[in-house]
Amino acid sequence: MHSAFDPASPQAHLIASLWWWMLGVGGTIWIIVIATMFYVSFTKHRHREPDDPQHVSEATHRRMERAVIAAGLVTVLVLTVFLGFDYSVGHALAQHPQRALTINVTGHQWWWEAEYEDPDPSKRITTANEIHVPVGQPVQFKLRAADVIHSFWVPNLNGKRDLIPGYVSSQWFRADTAGVYRGQCAEFCGLQHAKMALYIVAEPPAKFAAWMAAAAQSPPPPADSARLYGQRVFLSSGCAVCHTIGGTQAQAFVGPPLTHLKSRATIAAGTLTNTRANLMGWITNPQAIKPGVRMPAYPLTPLQLEALVDYLETLK
């Protein structure tokens, strides 16, 4: 689920086939060079000259000359063919689709924000770290960075693209096989570069449409007093300074939006599975799990913590 060897899109397929060709040709060249090295080093040749550095016969010299020139020409030939092959792959990858689902991805220290573009701003969906895409349709990503340089990379689907402050870069792919593909930030971006993962969830169009519809809804208001108390804890303890929950006053984007927190499989940018215990552990001491992460530990009483997590678990 996380490998360039196992392509799930035409783009990754092209690169993978380029790779296997290069490996085959490159490996053959390596074997030939090393075999030659052993041959010239260890084999007795008839034309071996006497142990006098002055004396290399005309015939030997000619033989050396021919061998070196031939090897040089083969090198040029192989490189030329390879260059042509590479340009054809590059050309194919550069053909951006005319119409595609467009997702704005913003890299933050250390999580991914994903906003689904829509002409109607009220219909734009924003989520984090788990990006749902429809199978068989091209998806275009517009990539930006909120702070430092990050790099968006899901090896099963396409190569990486850097997110650079001040630039908008783009990347696209068409996932042809349904599945969950892991990716990870590829440009060193500080303390938690190692734990900045993302998932691409490729699903059949109908399922994707259902997900979109659900994601556009705000979660229902808390149904009972315990969860109401949990929401109060969320809004009054500092959580709302950084996070968004649709339908509440919490509308900040320093940390990932939590509107549909429980619909995601992981928390902390792919670091922990999204279980109740992990959620409590994360809120209690995020610095123990991701040292240096922007989220501080909040001194909540056990009662507050229980209520808060009760509330968060309603965010489906």
């Binding site: 996380h2 490998s3 360039a4 060897f5 690169i15 380029l18 790779w19 290069m22 490159g26 060249i29 390596w30 090295m37 010239v40 080093s41 040749h45 034309h47 000259e49 006098d52 550095p53 002055q54 290399v56 010299h61 050396m64 070196v68 090897a71 040089g72 090198t75 040029v76 490189l79 260059l83 590479d86 340009y87 590059g90 990858l93 702070d147 430092v148 340089i149 790099s151 990379w153 090896p155 190569g159 693209r161 850097d162 402050p165 001040g166 630039y167 908008v168 783009s170 892991r182 990870q184 590829a186 060193f188 971006c189 303390l191 570069h193 190692a194 734990k195 670091t271 040292p291 240096g292």
Partner: protein
């Protein structure tokens, strides 16, 4: 045409042993520096400076290696907690900075500083005091980086220090400042060494050593010195000027919010950073030719092709830098140009390897340790070269870039192409530097452990990279499945460490009680073997005259020499640039403390700049008396050049 300027040796003018002994005694008197610790501090002998340069740079290899072992231990298993991210980032940054700036480049220029004057038959290097100054500047950088690391202010944004992560907003504190100033010190040291090597090569060659007879070792050093002159100013502008300004006085070169450009840094850095790789690699190729010639007992095949390969490699090396930036939003058409250039550079490198293989083919290889390391070089480096061509492809690079695949590639190239030949060179020239041979058996153990260790440590990383493991991660989750290959890689790293320990044991054992080497233990052909081991402070009793590319092989018993240089003062012969005809005599400076003093002032200036602009003024003020004293010393001793139209007397000696 090359016979035109050939010096003529008058018949019957052979020097008697007494003449030689008398001359040697007189030279010893004049060229011997002060003894003791003060003598060590004030030495301007290129061999003394070269030796401490080599030792310091090798100590940096060990330090960088220890950091690498710590990283490999941390990554041995998933979610290891030996090192936290803060420590790990300092360690991987310091590892890269050390290996690139404080080990690989300095040790190559150090070898040049030691051997270029000997190989061109000169008594000294062109600017001995500047040479000492360069070493001390580098030494200040070494001490500064490691004191900072131990004090928990080691740089932590990578050896490439990408903005904005290294900018004032995301890297407060002084960690990045340390990096920027360490780079400054090594830039100055490298530039000083480069200028010294260029001038020594062009103006101080032995009479008759026209450029087409220049040893390939010296060609490589010459070409690389020009590369240093063109490459280092780029990173100097980037780090010392722009980044330091952004951090210290709030300029906005790289700050997009104020109209700066974060990508600009990458261009400036890699315009230096890619040639840097060849600055390490080309001198190492320079080591290979004499080793292959000596142990195959054949003159190298394709001298001209090898020289041209050096020059074209250096030229193309400046046209590749964007292949470090294929994942950035640079237009595709522009990128494809850099793909072509990156592939092109494989051609001259390939030709050099073919020439050495042809030489071995015609010869009778004798498998002493230096030659084993050359074979190890081919075995390892060709692998790195092939993955390098793969990475030139934009499409493939977008998968492999910034992953462990690149970590594997760069270590295959730099260890295979740099460190393997360097070990070969150590075994080959250790007898010249110390007068003693390194142990052959320990050498073979050293070689095999190293070869196995390198391949076990770095080969699995190719797979890890394509399985999605990015570089510069302090840990990984066990669910990624990267654990087993990382464990293999760590074991390989420990084998490398073991082989380096064997090498150290060999050096210590042999330096104390190794077999005496004599002038020319390998029966090699270069001029450096025409003097005692270790060479005397004045290098040669009489300046050798060169009549071919392989002076010690082509002259049967007697090496022609010239006489007529004064032996009552430090006098060196200056020859013409292309044909090396004697031009004039020049007085070499006496030992001096001012190079050290000025290097310390330079340290105060640049390290001070981190803390306060006023300390820059203090440092500059303090260096003024040093500059005056340096110039005063020159005025006092230097009586201007004495012109010589032709060598006074040519004679022969054994």
């Amino acid at each position: 045409m090359q016979n035109h300027h050939e010096p003529v040796v008058p018949a019957g003018t052979a020097l008697s042993d007494e003449d030689v002994a008398r001359e040697a005694a007189a030279l010893e008197e004049v060229w011997h520096g002060r003894s003791g610790f003060w003598g060590w501090l004030t030495s301007v002998d290129h061999k003394s400076i070269g030796k401490r340069y080599i030792v310091t740079a090798f100590a940096m290899f060990l330090a960088g290696g220890i950091l690498a072992a710590m990283m490999r231990t941390q990554l041995m298993r998933p979610e290891n907690t030996l090192l936290g991210p803060d420590r790990y980032n300092q360690i991987f940054t310091t590892h890269g900075t050390t290996m690139m700036f404080l080990f690989a480049v300095p040790i190559m220029t150090a070898m040049g500083t030691y051997f270029v004057p000997l190989m061109v038959g000169a008594r000294s290097i062109a600017f001995p005091r500047a040479n000492a100054f360069g070493y001390w500047t580098y030494f200040v950088g070494v001490v500064f980086l490691y004191v900072s690391l131990i004090a928990n202010t080691g740089p932590d944004t990578g050896w490439f220090a990408y903005v904005p992560l290294s900018g004032p907003q995301y890297a407060p504190g002084h960690r990045v400042d340390v990096w920027a100033q360490v780079v400054t010190f090594t830039e100055i040291a490298a530039l000083v060494a480069a200028v010294n090597i260029i001038v020594t090569t062009f103006k101080m060659r032995s009479p008759g050593m026209s450029l087409n007879r220049l040893p390939l070792f010296v060609w490589a050093q010459l070409v690389v010195s020009f590369m240093i002159v063109f490459a280092m100013p780029a990173v100097a502008t980037g780090s010392t000027l722009m980044l330091a300004e952004d951090r210290a006085v709030n300029t906005h070169w790289f700050n997009p919010a104020e109209g700066g450009d974060a990508l600009l840094w990458q261009h400036v850095f890699w315009f230096f950073g890619h040639p840097e790789v060849y600055i390490i690699f080309l001198p190492a190729l320079g080591f290979i030719t004499p080793i292959v010639e000596t142990f195959a007992r054949r003159k190298v095949f394709g001298y001209t092709a090898l020289v041209m390969s050096n020059i074209t490699t250096a030229f193309f090396a400046f046209g590749l830098w964007v292949h470090h930036m294929f994942a950035t939003p640079i237009p595709e058409l522009g990128q494809s140009l850099f793909t072509a250039a990156s592939m092109l550079i494989a051609i001259p490198t390939g030709i050099q390897i073919f020439c050495w293989l042809a030489t071995l083919w015609a010869g009778r290889p004798e498998f002493r340790v230096p030659l084993l390391f050359v074979l190890g070089f081919i075995f390892t480096f060709v692998n790195g070269g092939i993955t390098g061509v793969m990475l030139a492809s934009v499409a493939f690079d977008k998968q492999a870039h910034d992953t462990f695949f690149v970590v594997a590639h760069l270590h295959y190239v730099l260890i295979g192409g740099g460190v393997m030949p360097l070990f070969g060179a150590f075994y080959f020239w250790f007898p010249k530097i110390t007068g003693r041979m390194l142990d052959e058996t320990l050498g073979k153990v050293n070689f095999w452990l190293f070869l196995i260790g390198v391949n076990v440590a770095f080969f699995p990383m190719h797979v890890l990279g394509l399985e999605g493991m990015p570089r510069r991660v302090y840990t990984y989750l066990s669910s990624t499945g990267w654990g087993p290959l990382n464990l293999v890689s760590t074991i390989g790293a420990y084998v490398i460490a073991l082989s380096v320990v064997v090498f150290l044991v060999n050096v210590i054992k042999s330096w104390i009680g190794g077999e005496a080497a004599g002038h020319n233990p390998w029966n090699s052909s270069g001029l450096e073997w025409a003097t005692s081991s270790p060479p005397p402070p004045y290098n040669f009793v009489h300046v050798p005259v060169t009549t071919s590319r392989h002076p010690l092989w082509d002259t049967d018993v007697h090496l022609p020499v010239m006489t007529g240089l004064r032996s009552d003062r430090r006098e060196v012969l200056i020859t013409t640039t292309f044909d090396a005809r004697p031009d004039h005599r020049h007085e070499d400076p006496e030992p001096s403390i001012w190079p050290l003093y000025l290097a310390l002032c330079m340290g105060l200036t640049f390290i001070g700049s981190i803390f306060s602009p006023y300390l820059v003024l203090v440092g500059l003020g303090a260096s003024l008396p040093g500059l005056l004293a340096w110039a005063w010393q020159s005025l006092n001793s230097h009586r201007g050049p004495d012109r010589v139209a032709a060598p006074d007397v040519l004679a022969e000696t054994t």
